[in-house]
């Protein structure tokens, strides 16, 4: 029988080990946030079985890992498009076009917040302050890449770049 971790690649497990090593030996659970991100990057989102596999690897109860996955906003507990765009619409950004940028993307892609385009390419999310309000409008691509000063031309360019 295959072992229960073969849902995650050896590469992913190696990355998780690197996170575990940051914490005291009896505090492996501290690595769960990073481990879930590593798993999400590999799977595209976090199915329950993947969360359970992460939990088991770290020696924690599946429910404890699930609680973490559902508490933090950037874990995707449902499938998302190839590109997840998160636009900050909080007040400081809105003053410099955050809401208008989100409206612009909605119109271009024909979707609302929390929807995915029919071809599965884009998912749009509304974000809270990303700590980058001086660069408004700002947008995250797949959680990790921040795009600044997203006026219409820059948005057009970004969408065109996404293959």
């Amino acid at each position: 029988m295959n072992n229960q971790y073969d849902m995650l690649s050896p590469e992913a497990l190696r990355k998780i080990d690197r996170e575990v090593a940051k914490y005291p030996a009896d505090q492996k659970q501290s690595a769960v946030m990073a481990a879930l991100v590593i798993a999400q990057d590999e799977k595209g989102w976090l199915p329950k079985e993947t969360i359970a596999a992460v939990a088991s690897y770290l020696g924690m109860a599946p429910i404890a890992a699930y609680e973490v996955a559902s508490f933090y906003n950037m874990y995707d507990l449902q499938p998302v498009g190839k590109y997840k765009l998160t636009v900050c619409t909080n007040l400081p950004c809105a003053l410099s076009g955050g809401v208008h940028a989100a409206d612009y993307v909605k119109e271009k892609l024909g979707i609302d917040f929390n929807e995915t385009t029919a071809d599965g390419k884009f998912t749009l999310k509304e974000g809270e302050c990303m700590g980058a309000c001086g660069d408004a409008p700002v947008m995250l691509v797949n959680n990790k890449r921040m795009c600044s000063f997203m006026l219409p031309e820059q948005i057009d360019k970004l969408l065109a770049e996404c293959e």
Partner: protein, 443 residues
């Protein structure tokens, strides 16, 4: 965002080369790690070190403004296992200074944390970094590798008998993890729900062990304070408000960005440094310390200086130093609606007054904004805030209440107009033009 202007650069000395000046050799070239070396080679005592920080009257830059030296002195001396934690979970709307600090000068944060570790007797530290700035998290990890390779981290630092190691931990989208005990829970691999206090982190912190937790900017200031001496640092600012401070200026100015100025600099000067009002429009209101701080009308703000005491006297808080500038194109009801949504969305749900109250606030402001407000709604909003403030585990409930109370207090007629006329006082076309997103003349 590259630096645009500053008076007395300290924290921003390393920013002038933009992304080309963050690495270890650059930091060392501008005098970096010299203070750590001095402390270790002279075997400075912990008490002397803390006394120097106390002299500077450095107050925590994360929002509460608590004196840093005093906080460090609360750490029990005898405890065998202690931690130092840095709060880079910068998520308070309007605040973006820690991101630039970590981007342009990560080693100043590292040196500050190592020195803090020495002062409080901790051997291990963590820097908790906002999930949304993953690229900065990666850079910080690189900086840690550089510091470790150079012998500034690890066992027997620079041949001394002091050992300290430091690691980065990232969040993944939860404002509440900026609250220090929520943050500690999060490092432990749990939901970031704040703990009851007392006990405070100095007694019961990470993994239940004594922990010193400070903001990124607080740690970054430490090497500079030790370099110039606590008293000289204090004198840069004004009494009880030592040193310089980073202000994140956002909203309707010509050059949003971070500005480092001495404490006590007039707001008018800061506004001028940020390029003045966008399009030459009129200043309407300012939130001077992040979205959780009460809003101040233009005339009150123009009389303030940028320091804890002046802003407090005017009825608000310096908070994190996030200055949100709003001009006459802003509908105050709509502005408040967005902030109220934020607190409702981010409440961790443990306390009934916060969980239910933040929902009430958002729904009532929402209905006023959408033309369904009732005559009694302003009283209702104030009553709901009465039932939230000071009645919860953490200060998020107060943070949700302050904007509501202050917006109504200072802009009551605008709320009343909304309720009576079922529309904004500020013409929607004017509001739309305010953001600068659409080219002038375009549809």
């Amino acid at each position: 965002m590259a630096l645009i202007a500053t008076i007395n650069p300290l924290l921003t000395t390393g920013w002038f080369k933009g992304d080309a000046g963050w690495s270890l050799k650059d930091y060392e070239a501008r005098g970096g790690y010299a203070q750590l070396k001095r402390i270790l080679s002279t075997k400075m005592t912990q008490d002397d070190l803390i006394a120097e920080v106390k002299k500077s009257v450095l107050r925590g830059r994360g929002g509460a403004g608590f004196p840093t030296g005093l906080k460090w002195s609360f750490m029990p001396k005898a405890a065998p296992e202690k931690y130092v934690v840095c709060n880079t979970d910068e998520g308070e709307p309007g605040t973006f200074k820690d991101r630039d600090l970590m981007r342009f000068d990560p080693h100043s944060v590292i040196e500050g944390m190592i020195i803090a570790g020495y002062a409080v007797g901790a051997k291990l530290g963590y820097n908790y970094i906002h999930g949304e700035i993953f690229e900065i998290y990666q850079r910080f990890e690189e900086a840690l590798d550089q510091a470790r390779a150079a012998g500034y981290l690890g066992n027997n630092i620079l041949g001394s008998d002091f050992s300290f190691d430091l690691f980065a931990h990232h969040g993944w989208g939860a404002y509440i993890c900026g609250e220090e005990t929520g943050l500690l829970e999060s490092i432990e691999g749990k939901k970031g729900q704040p703990r009851y206090k007392p006990p405070f982190p100095a007694n019961f912190g990470l993994y239940g062990k004594p922990t010193t937790i400070n903001n990124t900017e607080t740690f970054a200031a430490i090497p500079f304070i030790l370099g110039m001496g606590g008293e000289a640092y204090l004198n840069l600012g004004k009494p009880n408000n030592g040193g310089t401070k980073l202000f994140s200026v956002s909203g309707h100015v010509n050059r949003p960005g971070n500005y480092e100025v001495p404490m006590g600099t007039p707001f008018a000067k800061l506004l001028e440094m940020a390029g003045g009002m966008r399009g030459g429009r009129k200043l309407k209101a300012v939130i001077p310390g992040g979205s959780s701080a009460p809003v101040l009308p233009a005339d009150v703000m123009m009389d303030c200086t940028m320091d804890y005491d002046s802003i407090a006297k005017a009825g608000s808080m310096l908070g994190s130093g996030a200055v949100i500038v709003m001009d006459e194109t802003v509908c105050m009801v709509k502005a408040l609606e967005r902030l109220s949504y934020f607190y409702y969305e981010e409440s961790c749900g443990q306390c009934t007054p916060c969980r239910e109250g933040s929902g009430w606030l958002y729904r009532v402001v929402h209905r006023i904004e959408h033309g369904e407000g009732r005559a009694e709604d302003l009283d209702l909003l104030n009553r709901v805030t009465d039932n939230m403030m000071g009645k919860t585990i953490c200060a998020l409930a107060d943070a949700a209440a302050f904007p509501v109370r202050s917006f109504i207090k200072h802009f009551k007629s605008e709320f009343e107009y909304h309720i009576e006329n079922k529309k904004c006082l500020v013409d929607p076309e004017i509001q739309r033009a305010g953001s600068g997103f659409f080219k002038v003349g375009a549809a």
